[in-house]
Symmetry: C2
DNA sequence: GACGGTTTGGACAATAGTGTCTATTTTTAC
DNA sequence: GTAAAAATAGACACTATTGTCCAAACCGTC
């Protein structure tokens, strides 16, 4: 919005070997998550990062630039965690119930209910409409991928005769919904669920899922 | 935070017959929902309500008072809508599948995915941690009640031999989770689902629910 | 039409936050 | 050791916003 005369302070620091980028991004994620975009102040972020305010302006020209960088940072981490969880599902499951439960626990613990997941839940909802393009990369590589990728896994299980699923994409959405069923009340408080809650929720969800889609001869023990 | 000398402007307008309270509350809900608490300005609310800024300060001493009033207003509406949906479920369902679908549609359309539901989803998440007591009335009468009340309905259906449910409270949570399974991706965009989406989601959810908990002789047609 | 309660508009001080500039110091690299 | 890069601290203009004060205009009813 300013005239930005190219001679003086027109460029930010890039070189990548800077000690302060990571602390700034972490602190900014924390404060943005707690206060929202307009509620977060640069001073507060600087203090939490143990960094001078000017340093932040050196790296990111303005508040919005910093916010964009934080979102990119968090979404990248969230996506790699998501792919790791998907890749960890065994090709030939030996105990289907246990494998599904382990997958659900992994997904919830390392993707949805860790710090990054909390950030994305809150910020996407509050600032998403204002930055339509900003979370698009995450939506496409994250939640959209989880649908198709999990759908593919379920299709394989169906093909292997371990499950009986008419619509695999729908079943994938239902699976992710079920593993959150017990935890949504907890997140209403703004708290993060305990390990025991995550485990219990996953067991209940998988049992319901298998009751609906298990091969009807007898549920896998 | 100010000295507030009791002689001058110490009391707000109460008499209840004031033409401007409703427009103010509606506009404030809209702006708070769109901008968040700290992002919303009194001037913006006044303009949207077609009201002088001073009028707002006459009714509600400060921004926070207005916010509290808005939350109370919205939660009251949301709770009555919720009880209406619960009360509308028939005592002796004739066609269980259709009755459950109608209930799910009613719940989603009139409680979770209308304007009030959007407000509560967004504001509880962003401002909930800062006002722990503020949303408590809604949580107790709303989401907590929906669990027990829906659990009671399901227990009755189990008792009537129309369903086979080992844990009714768990089944209630799973039911609400399932009817949202298809819509969560839509809400990530900040959009509100269409009537057709709500209907389709309800059908898929009830079918899955009945596959898991229907009496196993034959699914109700 | 007079009166109390309500609404309005404008002016105002106080505060807080953004972004800039500059000079100085610390760290890193060669 | 020296030079470049990065970090710091303080002061600054500018803007936006909150909340207050006041006088005038606008209702309704009696």
């Amino acid at each position: 919005m300013k005239s930005r005369n190219a001679a003086t302070q027109a460029k930010t620091i890039r070189p990548a070997q800077c000690l302060k980028r990571v602390p700034i991004l972490d602190a900014a994620a924390e404060v943005f998550c707690r206060e929202g975009f307009s509620g977060a102040s640069i001073d507060e972020i600087a203090e939490e990062a143990c960094v001078s305010r000017q340093t932040i302006y050196n790296h990111y020209r303005e508040k919005e630039t910093l916010f964009v960088a934080v979102v990119a940072d968090v979404t990248a981490r969230a996506n790699t965690a998501l792919f790791a969880a998907l890749a960890a599902f065994p090709d030939k499951p030996e105990n289907l119930r246990e494998d599904l439960i382990a997958f659900a626990v992994d997904l919830n613990r390392n993707c949805l209910y860790n710090q990054d997941g909390k950030f994305l839940r809150k910020l996407l909802q509050s600032e998403g409409p204002r930055y339509p393009h900003l979370f698009e990369a995450w939506r496409e590589h994250g939640p959209c991928k989880i649908g198709t990728a999990l759908g593919a896994i379920l299709a394989r299980l169906h093909h292997q005769g371990l499950l009986d699923i008419p619509d695999c994409d729908l079943a994938a959405r239902q699976f992710t919904a079920l593993i959150n069923a017990d935890l949504q009340m907890t997140t209403l408080f703004g708290e993060t669920p305990t390990e025991a809650q995550i485990r219990g929720s996953a067991e209940q969800a998988v049992d319901m899922f298998l009751r609906g889609y298990g091969v009807r001869a007898e549920p896998v023990l």
